[in-house]
């Protein structure tokens, strides 16, 4: 018996645009019941609850986690690190267990953006009101800005973005949780209206809401349950100012320095020296294709200078890695939950219970989380082997 911690249960609601028949608490209830059932435990075995909800503005209710996730009688904290929330919440749960405060922690992330009628306008309010208010800085334009750098410096073309998107949407068809998933060809993506060059409409994720619950337990109480061990987990934050990150000694804006650092730390914990051969599945939080392209070198899968060649090989099926079997964040991006979903999906893969989207024997999977304008990054390594 070691100090290892593993994911023993996962519960997810379907991710769809709106759930007019469910309150926030009911969405959470569905995910939590499923997770507890999957973990084969009752609520009284849960020592603490960690909630994850990102921008309150998307739900239009402040602190919506209070009415839906917090449970009387046990410690409760809400984490909010933007898009990385779900991963940060899981990391807080690991902290809680390792500090000896609980044997089992329930992590729940809830996205209720189906209540927002102007979601994109809300995303605009994340940017600096003093220096950036007069611009159209949105999650889409900030992706476009990075896209232009990738295209100029590394020779990517619009077709790369379209092919990555197409692959993710195709995978989502096998994921029953992505309601309304359908195949999109690269041609369809390229033909869709331009949002902010080079980002086309069909590359952007749809509005999705839903809840994801994950149960983590320490080695001593896991017993004979099917478990995905946490072999490594780390996070890193960064400067806010994009302009200060464009060119700096640690790496340019497109090198995703915090992701690189988080990956290095998580790999070190997990004993990974060559992720390309030692990891089977990647679940990336990449709501845009360009973020995926930047993530590959940051995750140690290729050198920055060779990233375009790597993407070509990956898209042509010449690389033995599975990317986003769930469809990833492009197919469904319930913002508060996305990072936790990547971890949940990775856990399902490692445990061999991912149904139609299972990618065979998965010894090890890596999930990433991204928050802000590639400002907060998190990497979680899950595997069959107890660390």
């Amino acid at each position: 018996m070691t100090g290892a911690i593993g994911v023993v249960g996962v519960g997810q609601t379907p991710y769809r645009r709106q759930n007019p028949d469910k309150s926030a608490a009911e969405l959470v209830y569905d995910a939590v019941r499923a997770a507890l059932h999957d973990a084969d435990i009752e609520m009284d075995a849960v020592g603490a609850v960690i909630g994850g909800v990102a921008p309150d503005a998307l739900a239009g209710i402040n602190d919506i986690d209070r009415m839906s996730i917090a449970r009387p009688g046990r410690p409760y904290l809400r984490v909010n690190t933007g898009g990385a929330t779900g991963a940060s919440a899981l990391q807080a749960a690991l902290t809680w267990i390792r500090a000896g405060r609980a044997d089992t922690v329930l992590v729940v992330a809830l996205e209720r953006m189906g209540q927002a009628t102007t979601a994109q306008a809300i995303f605009n309010t994340i940017f600096d009101p003093i220096y950036e208010k007069d611009f159209v800085l949105t999650t889409i334009t900030m992706a476009g800005i990075r896209g232009s750098m990738l295209m100029k410096r590394h020779g990517f073309g619009e077709r790369h973005w379209a092919r990555i998107a197409s692959r993710n949407f195709t995978h989502a068809v096998d994921n029953p949780l992505v309601v309304g998933a359908r195949v999109r060809t690269p041609e369809q993506v390229l033909a869709s209206p331009m949002l902010a060059w080079p980002i086309h409409q069909y590359e952007a994720c749809p509005i999705s809401e839903g809840a994801c619950a994950v149960v983590v337990s320490r080695d001593g109480v896991v017993g004979t349950r099917s478990v995905a061990w946490v072999q490594g987990m780390a996070g890193s934050s960064d400067s806010y100012s994009m302009g200060e990150r464009v060119n700096r000694r640690e790496g340019s804006l497109i090198e995703m320095v915090p992701l690189k650092r988080a990956a290095a730390a998580a790999y070190r914990q997990a004993g990974i020296t060559d992720p390309g051969t030692q990891v089977d599945v990647f679940e990336l939080q990449a709501p845009f294709s360009i973020i995926e392209a930047m993530a590959y070198p940051a995750l140690g899968l290729c050198d920055v200078a060779e990233s375009r060649a790597f993407v070509d090989r990956l898209l042509d099926g010449e690389v033995g890695l599975e990317m986003n079997p769930s469809g990833g964040a492009q197919a469904a991006n319930p913002v508060s939950a996305t990072a936790l979903i990547r971890i949940a999906e990775s856990a399902l893969q490692v445990r061999g219970v991912a149904g139609a989207r299972q990618r065979g024997e998965v010894r090890r999977a890596v999930a990433t989380g991204q928050g802000g304008a590639t400002q907060f990054s998190s990497v979680c390594v899950l595997g069959r082997d107890r660390p």
């Binding site: 007019p20 605009n124 611009f135 159209v136 295209m151 464009v246 060119n247």
Partner: protein, 159 residues
Amino acid sequence: MTASDPATDLLVLPGNWNFDYRYFAGATASRFFAELRDHQRIMGRRCPGCRRLVVPARSYCDDCFEPMGEWEQVGTEGTIDAFTIIATAFPGLPEPPLLIAFVTLDGADSAILNFVQGLDLADYDAASTYLFKHDRVRVVFKDRRAGRITDFHFECLEQ
């Protein structure tokens, strides 16, 4: 009018999320804007630790976690690092297409964001190809300035 069935009616309540704030820009940002308005200068501050000259001017360095030092003016020309062409309309902003770019002005160690004007944006491929090849811009100030970031914009050097 048919009677509604309470068992199946789903209540959806409209609401809005309107909050008023007043954001304090602080002395450093305030001076940055005043320099635009009064002297048509783009000013940065240099970190005494890592020696980076950061624009827009900031009062502390994230990396060194130290207060910034001297104010310095940056050049009136610079290089586009990254850009995007906005194609969809946004409330409160000019009609698209709009070109915004991060530009590292000569002498600066960080890039600053602003509109780039004067380029034909009708064909995105042509515009982006042009911008990849011709990435030098100059700063152009408005005649009437209000102490806002939009007091200046960029224009391509070769037209």
